[in-house]
């Protein structure tokens, strides 16, 4: 506030500033009650052991059990497999497609964009059901390959752990690449086309333009989509529950899926599940922090 401001308006302003809290309070209270408080609650729960609601405090017993739990280790490994394989491929594909479609003279540009965006209209459950039917042992892919005589017996897409993980990655790629592409397309509209014109005159190839202009100028949006997709992948649940139920064995299970299992499908072990949830929280926070640091330092 400037020193020139007369007393009365300053007082008035403070009064209206106080009214501002009324606008903010409903949202603040809800977020505190629905996010922060449950997080504290989850931590307290994670220090207790027992089944159902018979819980007693046992310190860090649940956390000590985690490293010895093979299912947890498998779920953790799978979750990171999805993260490391799916997120980079998806974001790179989305970027390249956006760069291709950014050309105003390109024919059928709107058509391509619409087609690539189409999968976003399906819910995660719907797209999991579609891909389940496509890749199941008597599904379309196997039927076609058999009809064409390319294979003699069905490929176990969903009953072999490695294949099943790949099918889940493919499903996610199908559903989310177009979604991320729209973010990049929106960002590219902000880049003056003269920048590309100048680069072309200087003899820069398409690949060079992509590396030296597109990627650096889109950095904030790339960072934003990376954080969003990392967060989403670490919580992967719908696809796994619908397509494989975590199987074969624990071959495709994710952390969210395992937490859901021990909370709602057998005798509930809230404390142990809460400890596991807390590890997801820590991972999301650490990864987001690293990504933001990397994003800032290169600016």
């Amino acid at each position: 506030m400037t020193t020139h401001a007369a007393r009365k308006p300053a007082g008035l302003e403070r009064k209206t500033a106080r009214k501002g809290w009324l606008f903010i309070m409903p949202a603040v209270i809800l977020i505190v009650m629905m996010s922060f408080y449950p997080m504290v609650e989850a931590f307290l729960l994670s220090l207790q052991t027992g089944t159902g609601n018979n819980l007693t405090y046992k310190g860090f017993a649940n956390y000590e059990r985690l490293p010895k739990d093979n299912t947890y280790a498998a779920a953790l490994g799978n979750t990171f497999f999805y993260l490391i394989v799916q997120v980079p491929i998806m974001l790179l594909a989305a970027l390249v497609l956006a760069a291709m479609l950014n050309d105003r003279r390109l024919m059928f540009r709107g058509f391509y964009r619409t087609m690539i965006f189409l999968p976003v209209a399906t819910s995660l459950v719907s797209c999991s059901m579609i891909f389940l039917q496509l890749f199941t042992s008597n599904g379309l892919i196997n039927s076609l390959l058999l009809n064409w005589g390319w294979i003699t017996e069905p490929i176990p897409f969903l009953t072999n752990a490695v294949y099943a993980r790949i099918v889940i990655v493919v499903t996610m790629l199908w559903r989310w690449t177009g979604y991320n592409m729209v973010f990049y397309l929106a960002g590219l509209q902000n880049i003056d086309s003269q920048v590309y014109e100048a680069a072309r005159i200087d003899g820069a190839s398409a690949a060079q333009q992509f590396r030296k202009i597109t990627v650096p100028l889109l950095r904030p949006i790339i960072l934003f989509t990376t954080v969003l997709s990392t967060n989403g992948t670490l919580q992967l649940f719908d696809e796994v529950r619908i397509m494989t139920e975590g199987g074969p064995g624990t071959g495709t299970a994710t952390l969210s899926f395992y937490i859901y299992r021990i909370t709602f499908e057998r005798v509930p072990r809230f404390g142990y599940a809460a400890a596991m949830s807390f590890t997801i929280f820590v991972m999301v926070a650490v990864l987001a922090f690293i990504q933001m640091k990397v994003g800032e330092s290169k600016q």
Binding site: T16, V28, A42, F108, A121, S123, I130, A206, Q235, F281
Partner: protein, 275 residues
């Protein structure tokens, strides 16, 4: 020189179109197949029949006989509409408040709220479930809505939008004696319609698609939603693929309509939120 340039560019153009055609095909085919399978019977689907068949009515009858598709559709629409309206109202009010009544304390509060973006829903699932079952919110729309009514993502989006809203309008309206809340209702909301449209699409899509939370909080059959209904076919003894794909198609149609009528404002709103 000119000739050489043409020779270099043309094959690249063709390659570009080939790639885009391939990607478009891969994107669109499962979609086409979903609709096509909804018109076929199980035997044809298993045989790898790709063309549309004439079993649509029979599949529809299978669904209506179970008597669940109607209620599931109604519940999904009701949940998503109620959540979208209340979420837009509460989050935009907060976004507006953070900008129009800016001060040091509110900035700090916003900073703290941003931290909640780090909290994954999977981590709060169990405490929320226990809290809501104690409060008697199981199997209620309110129980479904409460965890996602106020989201930092939307508040952030509206805060960005509110920064482009001219303060002079607010001051002029104050001099005219309009109350603060009326200024928000009568001035801000109409001007920010594109942002509201984008926020509505994102919120509606999330509510329409949500699966894990309804699975936990809406366990009674009367509260069945479309994703849970579609997902429930997974464990059945005899799978009626045609009927399943019809459910999946039905649950996709509303999203398609929304996307293609509001596509422009969706991109605009997304742009505004990342800027």
């Amino acid at each position: 020189m000119k000739k050489k340039r043409r020779l270099v560019i043309r094959p690249l153009r063709i390659l570009k179109h080939l790639i885009l055609i391939l990607v478009s095909f891969v994107s669109a085919f499962p979609f086409y197949w979903m609709v096509s399978a909804a018109t076929n019977n199980t035997a044809d689907i298993i045989l790898g029949h790709i063309a549309p068949g004439n079993y649509l009515l029979q599949n529809w009858r299978t669904l209506t006989e179970s008597g669940r598709i109607g209620p599931a559709f109604y519940n999904s629409v009701r949940n998503a509409v109620l959540l979208t309206i209340s979420s837009l109202f509460i989050s935009s009010m907060a976004g507006y408040g953070f900008v129009i009544f800016r001060d040091k304390w509110k900035n700090r509060v916003m900073g703290i709220l941003m931290l909640s973006m780090m909290i994954p829903p999977a981590a709060t699932l169990i405490p929320l479930f226990r809290m809501f079952s104690q409060m008697g919110l199981m199997n209620t729309v309110l129980g479904f809505m409460l965890p996602s009514v106020a989201t930092v993502f939307l508040i952030f989006m509206f805060r960005q939008a509110a920064q482009t809203f001219p303060q002079e309008i607010v001051q002029a309206a104050r001099i005219d004696g309009l109350g603060e809340f009326r200024i928000f209702l009568k001035m801000f909301i109409p001007v920010m319609r594109p942002t509201y449209a984008a926020a509505a699409i994102v919120t509606f899509m999330n509510a329409w698609n949500s699966y894990l939370w309804p699975l936990v909080i809406l366990q009674s059959p009367e509260q069945l939603t479309l994703p849970i209904y579609a997902g429930s076919f997974r464990g059945g003894y005899v799978l009626d693929y045609g009927a399943i794909m019809l459910v999946v198609t039905i649950s996709t149609i509303p999203m398609l309509i929304i996307f293609f009528t509001l596509q422009k404002s969706f991109v605009q709103g997304i742009l505004g939120s990342v800027k």
